[in-house]
Symmetry: C2
Subunit: 360 residues, 2 copies
């Protein structure tokens, strides 16, 4: 599907079902509001799926991999070959995302969006999808990370993958990433949309020391100065200071929203994808569920820009989709509440009727 | 098992396995520490179970019900018969705990510890266990809630139920409660152990207004003045200002610790049980996992007294074991991490070797 067509056809979640679900949930045989944010989430699910019986049991996490030319500026402590090695680890089932997706009952779909090396063996074995928009991005400190055509291709790939999964019956999507150096473009995307200075959006990634962190902020500033990404044109932002996997993630989110399927957004990198998706189609935010607040410093600002409150705060900073997988259990629990819990009337339980007291 | 025997034989979790697991987890093919609190939890599980492959898949939530004479002081907005009605709802499978336990893959064991009414039909049908230590407690504002013998019986019942479940193969326990009015004795237990004044530990329960909240604080103060519970003698605290289900919960926690099985503690009422367990056997805290921070005001002080950090903060204030069920998924995910994620060496992934930089 073409990007423009998808974006044009994303509808906001249903206000009518939001209200219907609110009334229904107020009548569950529990003290009013006593399941807190689980009720808010149940209500959002009903509003996305336009039903009081939302199903989210068929889960998939899409983990997008890509490499980044900007690593030559010393922005990451891990060598670039780790992207390829970790994709191998995903394919072998030995990574954190495999373990946590199994606990969530979710499939993991690993996509090579443009790693800097050969992953064809894994693709031939059916362990990963090869949807390369390039072979590592260009160094954004010196010029655009990719062409506008590559950016559109990355977005459309994500939309198509989400669509194919939904057609196979998936009713809860999650996003994830792998790409050495990808907190740097993610920070630049946040800076482009928010206007925040580089030092405010740069974080320690997988563990930079103070000196390396200062260098990273300078590199982000250089990339913004050299490219001048236009926040009114999210494809331009992605092309100039983004990454192939980040474009893919944005596409998965847009595809989920197009199909009215909730999408659990992982941490810092996935939220950069979410910012691109919001820029392209603001109503897509209605389908996003923020999984967790990352330990990565700038993530709180991304969530503020998105207007989303995270479900978890466990000091995670791994990526891969691990936070999304963890939060999927909570999403399923919220769906269980609206699907299974009886109302006061059906359960034969007395409501509080004393005036002035709203309910031990 | 006698209370004294159980308490005497609870061992602290293994320091040796805590260290072994720490070293092992530091070598997983992830940036150091990047799975945050999930790693801390995995390490604790290894230390409790004395293995690098802790299993927590056989889960049970024990939901203890009881009634409270103190409701005649107007401390709850819901009528007392709701305890019986909600136990009926648990037995029918239509309550929040049923829905959330199903999502967690956990069984729910409902125990009548002393409701003020007849639940024998449900017990005869095998839907609940009848282990009554009384028929509703006495009004603690006027005298002790129960006798010392009843308090010991409630504790021993919990220990026995935990033991029976462990012998059936349960390897992850959770606690829950049902009892109209039971935030009042829970607040009194917190006050007895912490020395905090009543107004600091009293909360709105299921939704008291300002006036009712002030009354509740006064009732708690009256109960403490009338009974003078001795914090050095937790059985005395339970007898004077506790509840049958709170004693049962404390017993489940002690039983879990005795068998070296992790126990996920629900919210405010369950944490009052945890305070009693800690008072009786301080080393039992090693086996407790705090599921969530309740919306109920005094819960933060309970967690401080216990020295536990909650996994979730979702504004829950329902009880029943709902928070424990929700958090069980996170406990299972932590176990998956230590069970399934490969080390750098086994995964063939390069470690960061640059000095001064600890890690994209």
């Amino acid at each position: 599907m073409k990007l423009e067509e998808a974006v044009k056809n994303i509808e906001p979640a249903s206000k009518e079902w939001f209200n219907i679900a609110g009334d229904y949930l107020n009548n569950l045989a529990i003290p009013p509001g006593s399941l807190g944010e689980l009720l808010d989430l149940a209500r959002r699910l009903a509003s996305m799926k336009e039903t009081l019986k939302p199903s989210v049991q068929n889960k998939a996490v899409v983990t997008m991999a890509g490499d980044h030319g900007v690593v030559e500026e010393g922005v990451s402590a891990f060598p670039q070959e780790v992207t390829l090695q970790m994709v191998g680890n995903f394919a072998a089932g030995g990574a954190s995302i495999n373990a946590l997706a199994e606990a969530a009952g979710a499939n993991v779909i690993v996509v090579d969006m443009g790693a800097a090396g050969d992953l064809d063996d894994f693709a031939r074995e059916g362990k990963i999808l090869s949807r390369r928009a390039g072979s590592g991005t260009g160094n954004m400190a010196k010029g655009p990370a990719m062409s506008r055509e590559q950016a559109e291709r990355a977005l459309e790939t994500g939309i198509e993958i989400a669509g194919a999964l939904v057609h196979k019956g998936v009713n809860l999507l999650g996003t994830g990433d792998m790409g050495i150096g990808n907190t740097t473009p993610s920070s630049a995307i946040l800076a482009a949309f928010s206007g925040y200075p580089a030092y405010r959006v740069a974080g320690r990634g997988t563990g930079l020391n103070d000196e390396a962190l200062e260098n990273k902020a300078r590199v982000i500033e250089k990339a913004l100065d050299a490219n001048k990404p236009d926040p009114a044109d999210p494809v331009d932002v992605l092309a100039k200071v983004g990454g192939f996997e980040i474009g893919g993630i944005a596409g998965v989110i847009l595809g989920a929203a197009y199909h009215k399927v909730p999408v659990v957004v992982d941490g810092f990198i996935s939220s950069a994808g979410a910012l691109l998706a919001k820029g392209l189609a603001p109503q897509s935010v209605d389908y996003m569920i923020a999984s967790h607040l990352s330990h990565e410093y700038g993530h709180r600002f991304m969530l503020e820009e998105l207007g989303l409150r995270p479900l978890l705060d466990l000091n995670l900073r791994l990526g891969e989709g691990t936070g999304a997988a963890l939060a999927m259990n909570l999403v399923e629990s919220a769906a269980q509440v609206i699907n299974k819990v009886l109302t006061f009337q059906d359960a034969g339980v007395s409501k509080n009727e004393e005036p002035g007291v709203q309910g031990a």
